[in-house]
């Protein structure tokens, strides 16, 4: 499991973005993510196409619902996630 308390290295706040800008920005951010880093995506809906892309590209993710109904999606490389146990 990922540590829920760790501060993410990069944040994409997509709450005011129209599809597919949240996906475009997230994929750009993943390219810039340092080794072992985490990316937090804040988005008003579950990004179904992104989940497939993440799994296919070797990332893992954890989804949490915010009080305002938006979702926090914490993403990191799958092999790094195993290290956290």
């Amino acid at each position: 499991m990922m540590s829920p308390t760790r501060t993410p290295d990069l944040v994409v706040d997509a709450r005011a973005m129209l599809p597919p800008e949240p996906l475009e920005r997230t994929l750009e951010a993943l390219d810039a993510l340092p080794e072992g880093g985490t990316l937090l995506l804040i988005i008003p809906r579950q990004p179904a196409p992104l989940y497939d892309m993440l799994v296919n590209n070797g990332y893992t993710y954890e989804v949490k619902t915010r009080d305002d109904g938006a979702f926090d999606i914490l993403i990191r490389q799958a092999d790094q996630a195993h290290g956290d146990g």
Binding site: A16, L18, P19, L23, A48, P49, D52, T65
Partner: protein, 416 residues
């Protein structure tokens, strides 16, 4: 959860919805030609052969094409309802509905019974194939929720509309001893409210929050609306009095108020063309619904009926559909390209923004002129010119998106 999940991995091959979307503007262009050359006939009454041809070019042509294409995409993605072999199924549905709508419109225009019957039968067969496949998929899907219920009811009303339409066409062609006008109210209400209205609602629950960044429709509203509207339509059909249709009209107007309210509360201040077209559509539902109420209450002036028809068909449905095509076509092409390319062109760049603004003005001008033509028919010439230009601008934009995708894919096949 605020909004339903979408399963994009279930999407059909791209060519399935796109062939409907690219073919649809042709019907709008033909409708515009009819306005240009027969404006003295099409705007004087609901019942002239030219008006009936025009109405069916827009409804059985433009609207049905986009609605079928959208359902091929939407049912598996949004409702988990996988159609059986969509790449085979699409052939009879597309060819039959396209040719059937053309035959039907020509049959009305030329008052030719055989064309009416042939067009009606082709269209019915196409819809029947689609209905059977979609009913099976919608009954078997494990998904639940307001979109699935509204889709099921919408497809049911499509069947009712087409069955009555075929009987009316057969009667008009002299093949069936039935008074066609007796069934027209149910045909119109079933098509515009039952099929069109419920399909718009089913889609709106997903796309309005997603593409316009609005709050979701209230749960009580999206749960109850489709069933209440279907009940109001049954009431209208069962009672013989025109006043019995009033609850259905009022409910559709309520949906427009709810949608405008959602859009007023959106999280993003910036407007785009899709939002403007949706707002125009919902405003036209309110205006057209108001005029329809006058007609149901006994207003006999044919100009009021024609103006209501213009507002509902062109102002509401065509506006909304154009707005949706500007989102759906780039979006499904973007989703197709994303896993295949490292550098996908941004979706907004696939469309030409200045030309889209031109489209908005030409489309809105066409709407105003078509509305005025109900009261002064020569205005119909201007409406025809504007709507013809709007249909070509829409088609040009959709083709531009397709070309962008093709160019992006071509970079893949080039030797490095």
């Amino acid at each position: 959860m605020a909004t339903a999940e979408l399963s994009f991995e279930q999407a059909p091959p791209l060519s399935v919805p796109l062939r409907f979307f690219y073919g649809a503007p042709i019907f709008l262009f033909l409708a515009a030609l009819l306005m240009m050359f027969r404006f003295d006939q099409v705007f004087v009454s609901r019942w002239t052969p030219q008006t009936l041809a025009l109405t069916h070019l827009v409804t059985a042509g433009f609207m049905l094409q986009v609605m079928l294409g959208a359902l091929f995409q939407l049912m598996p993605v949004a409702a988990g309802a996988n159609l059986w072999r969509p790449h085979w199924l699409v052939w009879p549905v597309h060819v039959g509905s396209f040719a059937g709508a053309l035959g039907l419109a020509w049959g009305f225009y030329a008052s030719h019974g055989a064309w009416l019957a042939a067009g009606g039968v082709l269209l019915t067969l196409a819809v029947l194939v689609f209905m059977l496949a979609s009913a099976l998929a919608l009954l078997r899907t494990p998904a639940r929720g307001p979109t699935v219920s509204a889709l099921r009811l919408a497809v049911l009303w499509l069947g009712v509309t087409v069955a009555i339409g075929l009987s009316m066409a057969a009667a008009r062609g002299g093949y069936l001893g039935l008074e066609p006008l007796q069934w027209s109210q149910l045909h119109v209400a079933g098509g515009l409210v039952g099929w069109g209205g419920l399909l718009v609602a089913a889609t709106a629950y997903l796309v309005v929050p997603m593409f316009q960044l609005t709050p979701a429709y209230p749960a009580w509203f999206s749960r109850a609306f489709a069933w209440a509207l279907a009940g109001a339509l049954v009431l209208g059909a069962a009672a013989t009095h025109p006043l019995a249709w009033i609850p259905a009209v009022v409910m559709v107007m309520g949906f427009a108020v709810m949608t405008l309210d959602r859009q007023r509360r959106r999280r993003r201040a910036k407007t785009d063309l899709t939002l403007s077209l949706w707002r125009q559509a919902m405003s036209c539902v309110l205006l057209g619904g108001g005029l329809s109420l006058l007609v149901l209450l006994g207003e006999n002036d044919p100009r009021i009926s024609v103006a209501a028809g213009v507002l509902v068909l062109y102002g509401a449905f065509v506006s909304l559909i154009a707005g949706m095509l500007y989102k759906i076509v780039p979006f499904i092409l973007w989703l197709f390209l994303q896993p295949r390319l490292s550098q996908v062109p941004p979706m907004t760049r696939m469309l030409n923004q200045p030309l889209m603004r031109w489209h908005w003005w030409v489309h809105s001008g066409g709407l105003v002129m078509a509305g005025l033509a109900a009261f002064w028919s020569p205005m119909g010439l201007g409406a025809g010119v504007a709507i013809g230009a709007a249909s070509l601008l829409l088609l040009a934009q959709l083709m531009r998106v397709g070309r962008h995708a093709q160019r992006a894919l071509a970079t893949l096949s080039q030797p490095s």
